[in-house]
Symmetry: C2
């Protein structure tokens, strides 16, 4: 048996990552050995960890890690893990297919709110033919996307393609504005929210976004706005959302993420007529994309190491 | 009072077009007089008719018509009207905003079927957290668009923007293939249908499309395909659709058009769990777009008349 070029460990509190990703590694990267923690005989030979929601001591056994890979776009649980070694880079999956999944799911939610599709479903159940009088044009429904990274960009482009005027909000100035979009930075959050009829959150979970969607934020949206929550459950102040729906300030919400997940039995979100609940299903990187991302990053780490050792040898 | 530059008559069996479009004409084209048939004092001075579902004798009184305008994309009822004078051109509305409405509505229906959104709604009502295992990628869900005119093009482009592989079917060869699309002509209908998981119909109503969506057509789709009906009600063999859903050959359908409309009380479509019924609401040209279209065509008719009279004067 040949020596593997790379050795990795999969570890997660919730998912059997070895069962999910082992076949794709064997198929697409046979020179990478992916092990469960139990199967590791030489912890010093482990090059990388593949994870999502790692146990608290997940990284402790491995002194020579060169990279940590999140199977998902969100890597908040990895970043927060107490045993994570500081100097080791953490990579999120950047999968164009996953971004397309997110764009399609977000487009659905935009049309769901804009075109009042739940009303049509209710009308159908009652055998009521209730044709809306106007209001179909996307040109007057302003979509706002919070988070303009790999996911946010795909979501914003999808909405532009369907004729919606789109604004984005991100920390950094966008040097190259995209067609059909207006770009705001965090200092202009008030102006961004004031012009947003359908707000889509795809922000990552960080200390700065924890509880960000609260009464103050919702009150900055125009009367009748809708909220589409595709980020992380803990970013939402649940009582503030329920109060904004109750008062009629918000017309509806689509929630795909919760804290905790699964959403607890009996939670008010399940039965709220203004809320569409989905089970954290908007997007997911498929195993081949995860493997390709891991391989590309490992190759890049190797190339960087070779360049560094070359520089060290230079006079 | 100045003489109007153009005089038109609005006439429809179902809608009060004068109330719907009169204000937009007064606002945007004050040199056009839009009259109800009752208000016409000089039938010979009527230049155009604005209609949708015209009465059988709608065109009979006007000997000097230069154009007939449909307020909608579909103009089958105008074309079939027995009093329509043969030599007068009929124009449909071509409104980019209406096409964007259609693209968004179709995108919703694509995701509705692909991502099994009704199941999520049902799960929410039962407080069930049922996260699908895979199947989120648009790359393996083949969308097929029947009809590649003004509407079909917008629908196909919207699906491409969301990552779906798209094929189009039309009578004529597409000389300039569009990115992300494969173009079929009617002679290859079998191949087009065999590769289509979600079939979207935006064909106009013509003798050739009457009853086109029948048992033979549905059986040419792959097992589990879905049907999105945005054309005209009479294009659908209703019993064939119900049978294809009953057998499980089709997984679902979205129906926005019916024969007759409104959909009759007690019709099987209302209560079918595999069918999403909407009240002919996918798209609608708004009055300003209709007025702009009418003005542009009238100006073009004038320019053509001037050019013709110029040629007659040439030696």
């Amino acid at each position: 048996m040949t020596q593997p070029r790379w050795t990795g460990v999969s570890t997660c509190r919730e998912l059997d990552l070895h069962a999910m990703f082992g076949p794709a590694f064997a198929d697409l990267a046979p020179d990478i050995a992916l092990l469960t923690p139990d199967a590791v005989t030489d912890p010093g030979a482990v090059d990388f960890v593949l994870s999502w929601a790692p146990p608290a001591d997940a990284f402790a056994p491995y002194p020579n890690l060169r990279g940590i890979f999140s199977i998902a776009a969100g890597m908040d649980a990895i970043l927060a893990c107490p045993s994570r070694p500081e100097g080791v880079p953490v990579f999120r999956v950047e999968d164009p297919d996953q971004a397309a999944q997110m764009a399609g799911f977000a487009a659905f939610q935009i049309v769901w709110h804009h075109r009042k599709m739940r009303q049509h479903i209710t009308d159908q159940a009652r055998e009521v033919w209730n044709r809306p009088d106007g209001g179909r044009s996307p040109a007057r429904v302003r979509v706002g996307v919070m988070g303009f990274g790999f996911m946010g960009r795909a979501v914003a482009r999808g909405a532009v393609a369907l004729g919606y005027p789109v604004a984005t909000l991100s920390r950094s100035v966008q040097d190259h504005p995209e067609a059909g979009m207006t770009h705001y930075t965090d200092t202009d959050r008030g102006a961004f929210l004031a012009r947003t009829d359908i707000l889509i959150n795809v922000l990552p979970m960080t200390p700065a976004t924890n509880g960000l969607f609260d009464a103050t934020l919702f009150s900055a949206l125009p009367q009748g706005a809708a909220f589409v929550h595709l980020g992380r459950g803990a970013q939402l102040d649940e009582d503030a959302l329920l109060a904004a729906l109750e008062s009629g300030h918000l017309s509806g919400a689509s929630l795909d993420v919760f804290a905790p997940e699964p959403l607890l039995p009996g939670h008010a979100f399940w039965s709220h007529p203004g809320i569409l609940v989905t089970p954290h299903t908007a997007s997911e990187a498929e195993p081949p994309a995860v493997v390709q991302n891991v391989v590309a990053h490992l190759d890049a780490l190797n190339a960087a190491a070779r360049a560094n050792s070359g520089r060290r040898n230079m006079p």
